[in-house]
Symmetry: C2
Subunit: 733 residues, 2 copies
C-alpha cells in the first residue's frame, strides 16, 4: 500500500502545482463561448453555416471572490479580460490596477468584471494569493447599500467554484486561445484540366498556404476528402474563393482583404481534406501549396498491438480519426458539421478514456452541449442526444472519479431533467413531440419514429439512474430518492410494455398503448449494455435479434459501436473480431485513411462518398468511426473501472481469436498494462486495486500471489498498484 | 368623423413610411445589450461600478426571415452586424453578399447572423423588400436535414416579430449608437486653493473638454452637483485622474493613453455636474475647460403655464430634470447610479406621457429591466420593483394603445409572474424571502419589512390584474381567466387581512397571521390610486392617514408622487398645490437647478447633500424628483386616457387655487390642449373622443355642443377630434 500512497501523494502535488495561478472564469462560460467559436466554423461551399439550435453565451458580468489570510503583506499582479473593479474588505480600489498590495491579516478580495464579447476572466499571481478553482464566482451578488450606507443581505446568492483550464500565465489570455499548427507538405502535385491537384497523402486538417503568390485575378481552392470531391468543383462540400490584386488577397467569402507576406498567403479558415484542387486566372501565378496542420496536442496514452497487422492498422487509423476529431471539443467530423453533437461526443469520450484520457476536453464538451437555462429544446434538438448527455456525465464520473465536476454541473442536470420530465406522457415515458428530432440512427430501411420507442425509454431510464447517482455525489438526498423512484418505476414497465413473446424480443415501439410488430436492434442492444433484462431474455435476444440477419442491419459505425459492445458484453469477442476486420478492414480496403460516418459494404466506388442527397455529403473522418479504440481497450485488453476513477478496476482480457495482444489503458493516476497470449497474461496497474479475471483449462499459476477459483474454469487474481503480475494459464479452445 | 379618419390615415402612412428599411434585431436584445452599456457607465471615485443583479445579453445567433411576393425581380442591398449567411428558398448564397437579386414570384428569404459582441442586426433596402418589424426572428430554427437531404420539422420554432427603432440607413449601425452632444461653456471660473473651480450655471451632463492642454504631470478633475462637492476632493462622488506627458493624456482609471488633438482633450467618460474643480501639477498648463453636453433629443410636447411663476419654474425645472434623466433609457439619476431602476422608471414613464411621449424609450426600458429567462431574482432585486414592472406595461398600454408591444413582451411577463407566484405563501401573498430587497421607500423613521406587507399585496394584486388585461390583449383566454381569478381572490383578502377598525386604516403588515399595530401611508395611498376600497373607507383614510401628521412623513419625491396623486384623486388639488409649492419650491429656494432624490425641509445647508452615509451621496438630479410634470398634466390640466391609446379620453381640469392654467398633453396621435380660468374652459384634442368634466355653480354654456348635466353641479361636454370647444362656466368657490 505504501507505494500506492506515494504515487497518489505525488499526483496530488502535481495537481496543486498545476492549479496555481491560472486564469479563471464562471464555470461553463468559457466552454460555451469557445464552443460557439467552434460550432460557427462550419462552412458549406464558402458560406457560413451556424447550428440550428439555441446558442447560449457567457454571463457578461461576473464577481470573483476569495477570502485570504496572510502572515505578512503580499504583492499581487493582476490581469483581467474585461472592465473591472477590485474591492478589498468592501473598499473599492481606484481604477483598474495591475498590481496591488494586500496587508497581513484576514481579507476579502472581490473582483467584478464586465465583458460583452468574451467571458470575464481574471488571473492573479502572488506568493500565496493566486487565482485557481478555489475562488468563488457568481453572476449576481445581490448586494445593495441602504440609505444609511449599510451593505445588505446577500444570503441567497449562489456562489460556484471558478472554472479554469490550463491558461497558467498572464499573457495566455483565454479569449486568444488557438490550437497549435505545424507545416505539412503534399506528397504529390498533378496538373488536371488547367488546375493543380495536391494530395497530402492522408486525411488531414488545417490551413492551406499558397507560396509565391503573385499577379492579378481569381484563385479558387476546392477541397476533397477524396480526389473525386476535390476535382468536382460544382459539388465539393468546401471551397475557398480568393481574388489576388495589388499584392493583396481578398477572401471573397467574407469580402476581406489581407496583404500577401513574402509572396505567401495562408488561408484564414481551416478545412478538412486530403486533396486540394487549385485553379487560377491566367494572370495569377503561384509556386506551390502546402498546409499548416492544426491539432490538439494529445498524448497517446492508450496503446494496442497484436499479431494481426490489419487490426493494428485499424487501431492506428481509429486513433488518428479520433485525434483529428478531438479539437477544442470532441466534434462529429472534421469536413462538414464540425459541431459538437451529444450522441457523437459520448462515443468520443469513451474512446478517449482508452486513448488520451483528456478529461478537460470531455468537461468542455459536456458544458458546451448543455448550454444555459432555460432549456428550450433537446440537446442538439435530438431526444436521444439529451439522454446521451446525461449518460456521458455518468461515464465521465465512473472513469475519472471527478466528484467536483459532478457537483458543478449538477444544477444544469436538474434543469435539463425538469425539461425532460415536463414532456413525459401518462406512462412516464417519452415520445417525440413536435419540434423533437427522434434520431436513433441513420438507417437504410424505414424506421418508425412514432409513439413510445423502447430505445428512448431505456435511455431515459438510464438517465434517471444517472440523476440518482449524481444527486448522491452532491449529497442531495431528496433528489437521490426522487430519481431512484422514477428510474425504478420506469424500469419496471420496460418488459411489460415492450417484450413480445412471439418475437422473443423488445419491439421497436408502442403507439396508443399497442405494441407495433416491428423489431429493431436498438433497444435490444441497450438492454444488454444496461443489463435491463434477465439472463434468459439476454441470451434469447442474442439469437432472436443480434445474430438474426433478417433484422434490419446497422450501417453506421455509430450504432455498430453499441451493437459490437453488446456482443462483446455477451462474450462474443471472436465474432466481433471478425466483424471489425470485415467492417473497418473493409473501409481500409476502400483506401480509407480515417474512418467514415457510414459504411455499407454493398456500395461501390463513389457511392461511398454520397450522403444527405449530395455526392460528397458523407464525412470520411467521423469520430464515431473510431470505436475499435474503445472495443479493443474495454473488451480485449478488457480494462474497465469498477469504482469511480479506477479506485477499483477489473481486467478481463480476451484474445478473441488473436494469438497475442499487448497494450495499455490510461487511468486518472497512471496506466494499466495488459499482455496476453494463449499461455500467459501479464498485467500491471500504476494505481488502484482490482481483479484480473480469466478462463483457463487448468488452474492458472502466479508466482507472486494466489489465484482464486470462481468455478466453471473461471479464476481471478488480485492486482495491486505498481506490482506486475504474470499469470500462466491455458486458454480455452 | 371624417376629419378624424383623415388624421388617422395620415398617421398610418407616416408610420409605414418611417417603418421602411430600418435595422432590425431580436426583440429586446438590442435593448438589453444597450442597457448593459448604460448600466456599466457608473463610476465611484474613478472606479467602475456595475450593477449587483444578473445582467443578461443578446441571443448570439439569430435567424431573420421574410416571405416576399414580387411582380418583377428586385435588387436589394444588404448590411449586417455579424457573420451571416443568406438563403433564398432554402438555397444558400455564396459568402456574405452586400447585394442580391430576388427573382419575380414568391420567395422565402432567410438570414442567419452570429455576433458575440453586439446584437445580430440586419438592414435590407430594396424597392419593395426591406427590413422592418414585419420580419420574423428566432434564436433556434430547429431545422435539420435528414440523411436523404430532406429538411425536417420546424413546427415548434417560436418566431417573433423583429425589433427595431430608428436606425433607418445602412451606415447607421445600431451597435455604434451614441447620444448627440453640443458644446456648453462655464459661466464662471474661480481660482480656489491652487485649483480652478468652473461653474456651468446649472446641473448638466456630459464630457469635460480641457483646452490648450500641455506640459507634463497629473491633472485631476473633481465633479460636483454642488460647489461643496466639487471642492471636497476627498469625498466627491465622481472624479477623473489624468496624466499628461509627451503630448498624450493617460486616463489613470483605465490605464489608457490618448493623443491630445490641437491641444484639446475631451474626457472619455461622461459625468453629471454643475461644478468641476480642476487641479494640476506644476509643469502642466491649460487654457480653460468647457464641456460637451450630451442629451437625448426630445420634443417638449407637453406644456404648462399658469399665473404662478414659482409653479411655472417648478414645471420647467421638472422638465429639465426628467430630460437629463431621459437618456438611452429612463435612468434614476445622472450623477451616481445612472442605472435603470424599475420603481424609478415607472414614474419617468408616467411623467414622459405628459412631456415627451417618447414611447421608444419606455419600451427600451421595459425590455431592459425584464432581461432574459430564467428569472433568478426580482427586478433590480427589489420585490416592489417587480410589481412596478408589470404596472408599467399596463400604463404603457393604456397611454399608447400599443397591442403589438404587449404581445411581444407577454411571454416574458408570464415567466416573470411564474417567478412571483412560485414564491407566494399559503395565503397567496408575498413576503420578502431571503435575497429579496423589500424597498417600499427610503424612510427617515423605522419601517418594518417583515411578513406580509399590505403595500406589496396591493402591488401584486394590480400586477395580476395587469396580467389578465395583457392576456386578453394577446387573445390568451386561458391566462386571462387564470389571472382574473388570482387577482380577485387576492383582492378579496385585502380588507379582511389588513383593515384595522380601531386605526381606521390599512395596517402596514401582518406577521404570522397577526396584524401589526403600525400604520404607514404606503398601502393607504395605493388603495386610493387603485380604487381598492369602498367610498367610505377611502374618505376615512384621507383623514386617518393621508392628512394625519402623526403618521410617518414621506421625504422622497418618489413616494410623494403617489401620495400627492392620491390626494389629487380625492379632489384635493388645492392642498396639493400648496404642498408642491412648499416641497419643490423649497428645493428651488435651496438653489436647486434640478430636483433631488430626497428632500427634508428640516435639514439645513450641506445636510441636503448627504445620503447613504456619504457627505455627497445624494443625487441632486433624480428623475423621481420631476413628478410635478405628471401631477400638473393629469390632475390640473386633468387629461388622461380612458381607452388604450387615448381612443377615448377624459379631461377633468382643475385650477387648484390658481387663476388660470394653460397647457397641452401629448397623445399618440396629436395633443390635447386645455385652457382654464374661473369663467372659461377651452379644450381641443387632435384625435380620439372624450368628455370634458367640470363643476359649475350654474349650467355651463358651450356654443358648439350641448352640455350634459350629471347632477350635483357636475357637467360634461363631449369632445370630438379636431374641434376646439369653449365652455363658459362659473367656478365653484
Amino acid at each position: 500500500m505504501k507505494r500506492r500512497f506515494e504515487v497518489l501523494a505525488l499526483f496530488t502535488m502535481l495537481v496543486s502545482a498545476l492549479a496555481a495561478q491560472t486564469w479563471i472564469w464562471y464555470p461553463g462560460d468559457y466552454e460555451i463561448w469557445l464552443g460557439n467559436q467552434m460550432n460557427n466554423r462550419r462552412t458549406e461551399r464558402g458560406t457560413f453555416y451556424p447550428p440550428f439550435w439555441k446558442m447560449d453565451s457567457h454571463y457578461v458580468c461576473v464577481q470573483f471572490s476569495k477570502s485570504v489570510s496572510l502572515q505578512k503583506s503580499e504583492n499581487i499582479s493582476i490581469a483581467v479580460e474585461g472592465k473591472y473593479n477590485i474591492s478589498l474588505d468592501g473598499k473599492l480600489m481606484f481604477g483598474m490596477p495591475h498590481q496591488m498590495t494586500i496587508p497581513a491579516g484576514n481579507h476579502k478580495l472581490v473582483f467584478k468584471v464586465w465583458n460583452q464579447s468574451t467571458p470575464p476572466t481574471i488571473f492573479i499571481k502572488g506568493k500565496t494569493v493566486y487565482t485557481d478553482s478555489s475562488w468563488k464566482v457568481t453572476y449576481e451578488d445581490k448586494e445593495w447599500i441602504d440609505s444609511s450606507g449599510k451593505t445588505s443581505d446577500t444570503s441567497t446568492t449562489v456562489y460556484m467554484d471558478a472554472g479554469c483550464w490550463n491558461f497558467d500565465n498572464a499573457d495566455n489570455h483565454p479569449s486568444q486561445y488557438a490550437l497549435p499548427r505545424k507545416p505539412r507538405q503534399a506528397i504529390s502535385k498533378t496538373v488536371v484540366k488547367g488546375g493543380i491537384l495536391y494530395d497530402f497523402g492522408c486525411e488531414t486538417f488545417g490551413y492551406v498556404t499558397l507560396k509565391g503568390l503573385h499577379g492579378d485575378g481569381p484563385v479558387d481552392l476546392y477541397y476533397g476528402e477524396s480526389s473525386e470531391e476535390a476535382q468536382d468543383t460544382l459539388h465539393c462540400e468546401t471551397l475557398d474563393k480568393l481574388y489576388i490584386s495589388d499584392g493583396k488577397v481578398t477572401d471573397l467569402s467574407c469580402n476581406t482583404s489581407f496583404p500577401i507576406a513574402d509572396n505567401d498567403y495562408t488561408l484564414g479558415d481551416s478545412k478538412a481534406f486530403r486533396y486540394v484542387y487549385i485553379t487560377g486566372g491566367d494572370k495569377v501565378g503561384m509556386d506551390s501549396a502546402s498546409m499548416q496542420y492544426e491539432y490538439m496536442p494529445e498524448e497517446y496514452r492508450g496503446a494496442f498491438k497484436c499479431n494481426d497487422e490489419e487490426l493494428n492498422r485499424i487501431w492506428d487509423v481509429s486513433a488518428y480519426t479520433l485525434h483529428l476529431a478531438t479539437r477544442e471539443f470532441f466534434i462529429d467530423g472534421i469536413k462538414r458539421d464540425r459541431w459538437v453533437w451529444s450522441g457523437d461526443a459520448i462515443q468520443s469520450y469513451l474512446m478517449n478514456y482508452y486513448l488520451f484520457f483528456d478529461s478537460s476536453c470531455v468537461k468542455r464538451s459536456v458544458w458546451m452541449l448543455r448550454g444555459k437555462d432555460p432549456v428550450t429544446s433537446h440537446t442538439n434538438t435530438i431526444l436521444d442526444y439529451t439522454f446521451y448527455w446525461f449518460l456521458s456525465v455518468y461515464d465521465y464520473y465512473l472513469y475519472s472519479g471527478d466528484n467536483h465536476f459532478v457537483s458543478q454541473i449538477y444544477p444544469r442536470m436538474q434543469t435539463m431533467m425538469d425539461f425532460v420530465l415536463g414532456r413525459t406522457d401518462s406512462n412516464g415515458m417519452v415520445e417525440g413531440l413536435p419540434g423533437d428530432w427522434v434520431f436513433v440512427d441513420w438507417a437504410d430501411g424505414y424506421m418508425d419514429k412514432k409513439g413510445e420507442l423502447s430505445f428512448e425509454q431505456l435511455l431515459l431510464c438510464k438517465s434517471l439512474e444517472t440523476m440518482a447517482v449524481c444527486a448522491d455525489v452532491t449529497h442531495n438526498e431528496t433528489d437521490h430518492l426522487k430519481y431512484e423512484k422514477l428510474a425504478s418505476s420506469l424500469r419496471s414497465k420496460l418488459v411489460p410494455f415492450f417484450w413480445n413473446e412471439q418475437k422473443q424480443a423488445l419491439v421497436h415501439n408502442r403507439i396508443n398503448g399497442h405494441q407495433s410488430g416491428a423489431v429493431t436492434r436498438y433497444a435490444n442492444i441497450f438492454a444488454i449494455l444496461f443489463n435491463y433484462l434477465n439472463k434468459d431474455k439476454q441470451q434469447v435476444i442474442e439469437h432472436s435479434v443480434l445474430l438474426n440477419d433478417s433484422i434490419m442491419k446497422i450501417t453506421t459505425p455509430y450504432m455498430r459501436f453499441y451493437e459490437l459492445a453488446s456482443l462483446c458484453a455477451m462474450g462474443r469477442q471472436t465474432e466481433v473480431m471478425k466483424e471489425m476486420k470485415d467492417y473497418w478492414g473493409g473501409m481500409l480496403k476502400e483506401g480509407a485513411t480515417s474512418f467514415w460516418e457510414k459504411y455499407n459494404p454493398d456500395e461501390k466506388g463513389a457511392q461511398h462518398l454520397a450522403m444527405y442527397g449530395r455526392p460528397y455529403g458523407k464525412s470520411l473522418c467521423h469520430a464515431w468511426g473510431a470505436s475499435p479504440i474503445y472495443l479493443l481497450g474495454k473488451y480485449y485488453l478488457g480494462v474497465s473501472p469498477v469504482k469511480p476513477g479506477y479506485e477499483e478496476f477489473s481486467i478481463k482480457p480476451c484474445l478473441g481469436g488473436l494469438k497475442w495482444i499487448d497494450g495499455k489503458v490510461p487511468t486518472p493516476h497512471g496506466d494499466i498494462h495488459v499482455y496476453m497470449n494463449k499461455k500467459e497474461i501479464r498485467v500491471k496497474a500504476d494505481s488502484g486495486t482490482g481483479y484480473l479475471y480469466l478462463d483457463s483449462k487448468h488452474v492458472p499459476r502466479c508466482a507472486d500471489t494466489t489465484v482464486e477459483a470462481l468455478g466453471a474454469r473461471k479464476y481471478r487474481v488480485l492486482i495491486k498498484a505498481g506490482e506486475e503480475m504474470a499469470v500462466k494459464y491455458d486458454a480455452m479452445p
